[in-house]
Amino acid sequence: MANTLAVRGAAAELRWGYAKAATLRDWSVAGQPGAWTFTATIIDGDTFRVSQRPLQVITPNGWTWAVGTLQIAGRTLTASLIPQERPHAVLVRPT
């Protein structure tokens, strides 16, 4: 398939505002522009917060994705992502 991408990571969080909704492990993002799917294993979660919107996925290196639709089956979370990737902060210092 042309123009596809897959990214994987060990840790991530699902958040509702500043509040942690779920701790995630072994995540991956796959798909193509406009149709990204996030998949992860849920380690622990707050049922109320997971049911709220908007939600975001945040990785330890600062990648942030807004969640579109979300499904949970057992301990597997699958979400469509809204294109909105940005790092928390990028420090640029003059050399």
């Binding site: 509702w16 505002g17 500043y18 509040a19 109320f48 928390h88």
Partner: protein
């Protein structure tokens, strides 16, 4: 009708020297209970009392999410790490942060009261009177 749940929204409060803190707009019930548990003790009479010495620190820990201070990052810090960072501040700087958070809490309480009055959110009169034996005021004590 406004939501009965607290949305996890934030407010940035300005400090001196151009610094700022990012705080929770409002505490939810769980966060408020954790705050009271941190800053209170059960006396010999079985009643829980707020400790003035720890109330200010607990209030700041409850609200604070991030700050602009460059030396120590606190975003997503554990309660222990956040407490350690606060304990290493210059005392007058901690007082400035504590007072900013306390003023914010008062402003949010006032806004909440106004919101309830505007939307008619008063509680209906109880059909059953409380028991005379029900203890009044589970918490007592002064706070700083």
């Amino acid at each position: 009708m406004p939501s009965w749940f607290v949305r996890p929204e934030t407010v940035r409060l300005p400090l001196s020297d151009g610094q700022w803190i990012l705080v929770k707009q409002r505490l939810n019930t769980g966060e408020h209970r954790a705050h009271l548990a941190r800053c209170s003790v059960v006396g010999s009479d079985g009643r829980r009392r707020v400790e003035s010495l720890t109330h200010g620190l607990s209030l700041v820990v409850a609200y604070l999410l991030d700050w602009s201070l460059p030396d120590v990052g606190i975003r997503d810090a554990s309660e222990a790490a956040l407490t350690a960072a606060l304990d290493n501040l210059e005392p007058d700087r901690f007082v400035e942060i504590r007072e900013a958070v306390a003023a914010h809490e008062l402003a949010m309480e006032a806004a909440r009261e106004t919101e309830k009055n505007v939307t008619g959110g008063e509680r209906p009169a109880s059909a059953i009177s409380p028991s005379p034996s029900e203890p009044a005021g589970a918490l007592s004590g002064s706070v700083n």
